[in-house]
Symmetry: C2
Subunit: 224 residues, 2 copies
């Protein structure tokens, strides 16, 4: 009896273990999602299109992701962490030279967007217009970035006098400045050289920090 409840035995196929095959499919779907969402936007893309891009069928989509939003969330999360890791690593390498750290962080940030312009749209635009959950996730990410920036400057310049200002708000503003510059830069097809963009953003950072009386970051960047 009980024939209907037999579990099918999973096995290798084309010399690849079942878990590996599934991981590969998931990977292909993530890449396809990055491509589709990053170029046409979340709302302009169907599951079918993603599957066609990944050369898989809908069945495998729902094998790895509950729905369209789950795929976007996974892509978003991965790209955020990739970019964050790259930036953090380059910042750490420049310790403890504050100016070099800030410049390297900006440099890597913009370089990451130029290397793959698709992620700009995903990280800064689409994520805000999908659902309350995704919006909240984005909000936490950028808030975390602001918090990091705040702690970063306060650790570097403990003597700083912020004159009654709110460092968290200032950090939010600086993050917004970078994001807006990045969006316009991407949107313009990278009209300016990377160094120009990085230097101008750094100049805003430096101006704000030096207005707090901190000494190190004042020097304006000369053209190398």
């Amino acid at each position: 009896m009980d024939v209907s409840s037999e579990k099918p035995k999973r096995r290798t196929f084309k010399g690849i273990a079942p878990e590996d095959r599934q991981r590969e499919r998931r990977e292909k779907l993530m890449e396809a999602g990055l491509e589709a969402y990053g170029s046409r936007g979340y709302h302009g893309v169907t599951v079918k299109e993603i599957c066609a891009e990944a050369k898989l069928t809908e069945r495998y989509f729902y094998e790895s992701f509950k729905d369209r939003e789950a795929l976007f969330g996974a892509v978003y999360q991965r790209e955020v962490e990739r970019l964050r890791e790259r930036v953090l690593q380059d910042i750490r390498q420049r310790m403890p030279d504050a100016q070099a750290m800030a410049r390297a962080g900006l440099d890597t940030f913009f370089q990451g967007l130029r290397d793959d312009p698709r992620i700009a749209r995903i990280l800064f635009v689409d994520v805000l217009s999908i659902s309350a959950e995704m919006t909240g996730q984005s909000w936490r990410v950028t808030s975390g970035l602001s918090g990091f920036l705040m702690q970063f400057t306060q650790a570097l310049y403990p003597q700083v006098r912020t004159n009654g200002l709110d460092p968290q708000l200032i950090a939010t503003g600086l993050v917004g400045a970078c994001i807006n510059v990045a969006m316009h830069w991407v949107n313009s097809g990278f009209a300016q050289p990377l160094e120009t963009v990085r230097d101008n953003c750094y100049a805003i950072f430096a101006a704000v920090i030096s207005s707090w009386g901190a000494p190190a970051a004042v020097k304006l960047p000369g053209k190398k």
Copy 2:
């Protein structure tokens, strides 16, 4: 013959001329669109819902607007211009005191968003994820704002030395700072007092301008 091409004669109804009725319907649809798009977002709203909100039927929607996007575009355009006019007017009134002008402009900007938080989402979020046309429109609006800001500071501080920086990029950054601060402020349910938000944004402006060697805007805002 030719009975079928008879045009119906338009006439008054409930004491109101046909053009006025139509204008009123259009008005109600714009208000309903503002409410719906501003709270649930463009993609979370159907034509039916907007009509229900406006207490009109679909027929009257398509009387005034070609499609969903046209309504959003009209709402966006109107709210941009309303806010811009308010800000410009308050800036003009403070001429030529640069500090007062900048502070008044920021003040009115944030006040406009607090008065009607729905427009924040429409102006800064949804417009970017509808179509290439709407994205371009938003891009032109914020670029125009950056351009205005640039001319504004250059006119006020003609002696300014920007040390090889790109004023257009800096202005883009400053606009982005305001927008990001505004979004987080709205999103937090206006956690900070308006004056705090305004002062902190102004501090970023002042820091950047004073880093260019301009004298007037240096003074940090004391609590009134």
